[in-house]
Amino acid sequence: MTRLVCPFCGPRHLREFEFHKTLPAPGAGEFASVYERVDSLELSVEHWQHVGGCRGWLLVRRNPSTGAVLDCRLVGGGGAA
């Protein structure tokens, strides 16, 4: 049920996007930010890349229980332009 809407390209099929990682907790130290992940049923904050499209890096906030995407924006440059 995960549907990603690329802020640049619009809605595209999930196969165009590549999951990179779940982000560590804010303020995590160097070791923790490499090895520790926030594992929450309600909210997962993730980096994805739209490799099959504009190649933009995306900051995705997702409910991992339902797959629902709460927010998807370009990591480096805000939301939909």
């Binding site: 049920m1 995960t2 549907r3 990603l4 809605p11 099929h13 999930l14 196969r15 590549e18 990179h20 160097e30 070791f31 930010s33 490499v34 090895y35 980096h47 890349q49 490799v51 190649r55 933009g56 890096w57 339902t66 797959g67 629902a68 370009l74 990591v75 480096g76 440059g77």
Partner: protein
């Protein structure tokens, strides 16, 4: 198509064959309707007990009538006959029988000792071992036979974008599609049948005062006129990531399959409901059919399920059905209603049926179907007194245990199902906003409310898609009253008889099997499924799944909602492999990336090798018959005089902007900012955890402009890596990252003659540059009017240059070099040359090695604060147990050892210490040499180890050497 209630119209025009018999059907028939009309009652045998079976349903959930279509080798097995449109000359064969349907040898096995229940084979054939029997049993098991040869036909794949997708073209689906279309939404409607209408066609109801079928035709015309896509004969089979997939598979090879991938903004599921069977003894005999199927065959095809029929149900709608069957010329002998008299409505209809000679029995059940090879009667008894049974003669028993909403598309991707006491089944739980259920799929079984539900869903879907629907009153639908029934699952039976009460006919699962499963401790519904096969097969449990769960609930004394049903998974109905493949067939399976020199390589006898998606020359046939011989010849020639290789597959990333130098300093272990313009440096990237990620040469073109090269295999990944840091840690800085891999072809020119040959090829204007270039310098200029960069760098240990040129001049430049006496060499030679020099590839940079492991302490010592630098300082990375890169040679100077061999010390039974990462036969050293990763404690030069390779080379004694096998002082490279 207009209904043809009770009559066969037109000439019997379509000729087909069934098990070698020539038969005729009508235009518009399915294989199932044509066989019924032709009086063929036995259409297959069951998968395990080899029991004779007849057509049971009128939809894709058909468990029995599965045919093999076509003639070898172009055959398709397991096609459900009710979904198979009849075509002239179609060749059909029944399944699960040998030598013939009427006489089957394997069925005799069953006749001898009664039925072999679930688990029988695995428990019985254990001596001396299951394997003794496996091939025989497997030859008897399974559904139809797989075709012996490729039967891939044309498949047309189409991606459709739309606002609203409606799955199901019955009353609710049509109402939803019309409401959404009228709101201005772009609509796609999928209907699995050749025509829309669903139950409307034969229910006898009216919509807005018109016959249901006629209303459906009007709506379809309106939809098409408004630009909606109405896809008939097309079943929605599943989906993911918001893309739903619908297949049109006519079944035969004559028609082209179509696959639609539909990405809607809102999705209305109006796929109706599936009628349920009731378990009674021998309820799988040919002649036992679902009531709704019999109605459909009569109304749509004029084919009668029987002449004298008994109806068995537990809801009010059975009486309206009976009246329609009677009007179609079938004699309804009895209606057996399992409910008590005070639960039953439809008094007027019952009175009228009674006057016409139909016996209406309340509180009764059909205990058994009687007959040898087909139904000849129904044993009927009061539920209160099962022993007072009598037999009513008939040739068909039409069963309806109620309806289960077809909510597959709503729960296949996960999602709750809720028990619905009204229907006795499950409905979908909470859905994401964009997915809506309507009509019978939503538990609305009555025409009027189903239409209203459809309109509401269509309007909501349009709104989700950003349209403003008008308030449109729902059509006025008048049809059968709500079924108003009570779920009734099975008739009383003795425990011996339970072996013949079929719950899931496709998998021959009986009530006795369910009891056995519980007795064996397989209690959860998913375990019961695996133990008994309940719910597997082409019908995916649509016939037997819920009935099986209900019987389990009864046996366990638990409510059905606690037992649940097994998970509904895609595909909704069988999908051919060719549809799954779509356009990805043969060479299109995955693309190949070609360098600008690809055609030259092919024209000149190169044997190509895949490296990721890239195609690269492995060796050239002119230099030897096989890779081993040619590789040695090519490598030797590079050291003796010179050669050229195609390096265009190297990844190239242009990093530009005022912050480029600082950005690259973060990405590499050593500093890019200290490279002077016109110089390059061998550089290494680390992962965040300190492991080496990749290596390559970084060229500084200008103060604010670099080109970073990556290994060929890592190119796409390194690009993502660069882009990631540009967008995260470095967002807002003035730096850009551009993939220029294809913008620069690369030709490696190596060997003692390389500089002289280049002088001749590049001409006088390059003379000074070539003379000036020191190791890792580069010069830029032009050749043939296009840009050319000449970099002096070596991956062979020889005096060598990399020519980075625009693709347009790659071939002329290459040909000029060949003409100047530099022959090409491939990957085999490249590997030999680099192993001789101890240079690294992904065999050593494998994601598990640190710069310390690979002998790069010097780079770490520079103290650049790059990605991965912090975690590289962990003490464990300095321990003696960490691997270190070493060279290897056979202790006897002769033996061969191969990459992958495990290295141990020489004591028997010792554990692996490390392994051989690379090995080649070195023409320069005249023996096998290798690189290996072994603990530093064992890495001293001269140490003896065993290279153990039991499946290939056996044990070879090897000696640790320095990693650089040839020219350790690098004199040749500096010459």
């Amino acid at each position: 198509m207009t209904p043809r209630r009770g009559t066969r119209v037109g000439p019997d025009a379509v000729r087909f064959s069934f098990d070698g018999r020539t038969l005729h059907g009508q235009v518009g028939d399915t294989a199932a309707s044509a066989l019924l009309a032709a009086g063929v009652r036995r259409v297959g045998r069951s998968v395990k007990y080899r029991r004779l079976r007849g057509v049971m349903t009128a939809g894709p959930e058909e468990p029995n009538a599965l045919f093999t279509v076509g003639t070898a080798p172009a055959v398709i097995p397991n096609v459900p006959a009710p979904q198979l449109e009849l075509r002239e000359g179609m060749v059909l064969r029944s399944q699960n029988r040998w030598p013939s349907l009427e006489f089957d040898v394997a069925s005799l096995l069953q006749a001898g000792g009664g039925f072999f229940g679930a688990g029988f084979y695995y428990k019985t054939f254990i001596w001396p071992s299951w394997r003794t029997y496996e091939s025989l049993i497997r030859s008897l098991a399974g559904l139809g036979e797989a075709p012996g040869a490729c039967n891939i036909g044309p498949v047309a794949v189409e991606h459709l974008g739309c606002d609203v997708l409606v799955a199901g073209g019955g009353a609710a689906g049509l109402a939803a599609a019309r409401a959404a279309t009228r709101a201005g939404a772009r609509v796609v409607l999928c209907e699995r049948d050749p025509v829309c209408g669903g139950e409307l066609e034969f229910e006898g109801g009216t919509v807005d005062g018109r016959a249901g079928g006629a209303w459906a035709e009007t709506v379809v015309a309106e939809l098409r006129a408004a630009g909606a896509r109405v896809l008939t004969g097309t079943t929605l089979v599943g989906g993911s990531g918001g893309e739903m997939i619908a297949h049109a598979e006519p079944g035969g090879l004559a028609g082209a399959n179509a696959v639609y991938k539909i990405s809607p903004r809102a999705f209305v599921i109006a796929m109706g409901a599936v009628e349920r069977p009731i378990a009674f003894v021998d309820n799988d005999l040919p002649g036992v059919m679902l009531l709704g199927a019999a109605e459909r065959y009569l109304a749509r095809y004029g084919a009668r399920a029987g002449r004298d029929v008994v109806l068995f149900a537990s809801h009010d709608r059975v009486y309206a059905s009976a009246a329609r069957l009677a009007a179609g010329g079938m004699r309804v002998r009895a209606i057996v209603d399992a409910r008590q008299p005070d639960e039953i409505g439809a008094a007027d209809l019952r009175d009228a049926l009674g006057r016409d000679g139909t016996e209406c029995l309340a509180g009764h059940a059909v205990l058994a179907a009687s007959g040898g090879r087909a139904v000849s009667g129904a044993r009927i008894a009061p539920l209160a007194a099962p022993r007072q049974a009598r037999t009513v003669p008939c040739d068909a028993i039409l069963v309806s245990g109620g309806w289960t909403p077809a909510l597959h598309a709503g729960v296949q991707e996960g999602g709750a199902r809720l028990y619905d006491p009204r229907s006795g089944g499950f409905v979908a739980g909470e859905q994401p906003e964009w997915r809506l259920l309507a009509g019978a799929a939503n538990g609305q079984f009555e025409l009027g409310p189903a239409l209203a539900d459809g309109v509401a869903a269509g309007m909501r879907a349009a709104r989700i898609a950003g349209r403003q629907p008008l308030t449109d009153p729902p059509p006025d639908g008048r049809g059968d009253a709500a079924p108003r029934g009570r779920a009734f699952w099975r008739s009383p039976a003795s425990s011996a008889e339970e072996k013949r009460q079929f719950v899931d006919p496709q998998n021959d699962v009986t009530v006795a099997d369910l009891r056995a499963s519980l007795a064996e401790g397989f209690v959860d519904i998913e375990h019961v499924k695996r133990y008994t096969a309940l719910g597997f097969g082409t019908d995916q449990g649509r016939i037997g799944g819920l009935l099986g769960a209900a019987v389990l609930a009864e046996i366990r004394g638990r409510p059905l909602e606690d037992v649940g049903t097994s998970r509904l998974r895609p595909p909704f109905h069988p999908v051919s492999m060719r549809s799954l493949a779509g356009w990805r067939v043969g060479a299109a399976l995955r693309p190949a990336r070609r360098t600008p020199l690809h055609d030259w390589h092919v024209e000149h006898g190169a044997v190509l090798e895949s490296m990721g998606l890239w195609m690269r020359p492995r060796f050239y046939r002119a230099n030897g018959d096989d890779a081993f011989a040619a590789g040695i010849a090519e490598a030797r020639r590079v050291r003796d005089s010179g050669g050229i290789a195609d390096g265009s597959t190297l990844g190239k990333i242009e990093v530009a902007g005022p912050d480029a130098a600082a950005f690259l300093d973060r990405l590499y272990l050593s500093k890019a900012s200290s490279i002077r313009v016109g110089r390059s440096k061998y550089m290494v990237n680390l992962r965040e955890d300190g492991m080496v990620l990749d290596d390559g040469i970084v060229l500084r073109l200008a103060p604010d402009r670099y080109i970073a090269t990556t290994s060929s295999g890592h190119g796409p990944h390194m690009l993502s890596h660069f882009e990631h840091y540009r967008d995260t840690d470095w967002s807002g800085r003035a730096v850009t990252v551009t993939d220029v891999t294809e913008a620069w072809a690369a030709i490696v020119v190596a060997g003692p003659r390389s500089r002289d040959a280049l002088r001749g090829v590049l001409g006088a204007e390059w003379e000074a540059s070539l003379a000036r270039l020191r190791h890792m310098d580069f010069a830029t200029g032009r050749f043939g009017g296009r840009e050319l960069t000449v970099l002096r760098a070596s991956f062979s240990g020889e005096l060598a240059f990399e020519l980075h040129c625009r693709p347009a001049i790659a071939r002329p430049l290459w040909e000029a070099l060949v003409a100047a006496g530099l022959p090409p060499y491939g990957l085999e030679a490249l590997d030999i040359l680099r192993v001789e020099k101890g240079y690294l590839t992904t065999a050593e940079i494998n994601g598990q090695t640190t710069p310390f492991d690979l002998g790069m302490e010097g780079l770490v010592g520079l103290g650049n604060d790059c990605i991965g630098r912090g975690l590289l300082e962990r003490p464990a990375f300095r321990e003696a147990s960490r691997p270190g890169l070493v060279g290897l040679r056979a202790a006897d100077g002769k033996a061969r050892f191969l990459a992958g061999a495990q290295l141990t010390d020489r004591a028997a039974g010792s554990r692996p210490l490390g392994y051989v990462t690379s090995s080649v036969y070195s023409p320069a050293c005249r023996e096998w040499i290798g690189l290996a990763l072994v603990p530093r404690s064992h890495a001293a030069a001269g140490a003896l180890l065993l290279a153990r390779d039991p499946l290939r080379e056996g044990d070879v004694e090897v000696r640790v050497t320095p990693a650089v096998h040839f020219d350790p002082g690098a004199e040749r490279m500096k010459s």
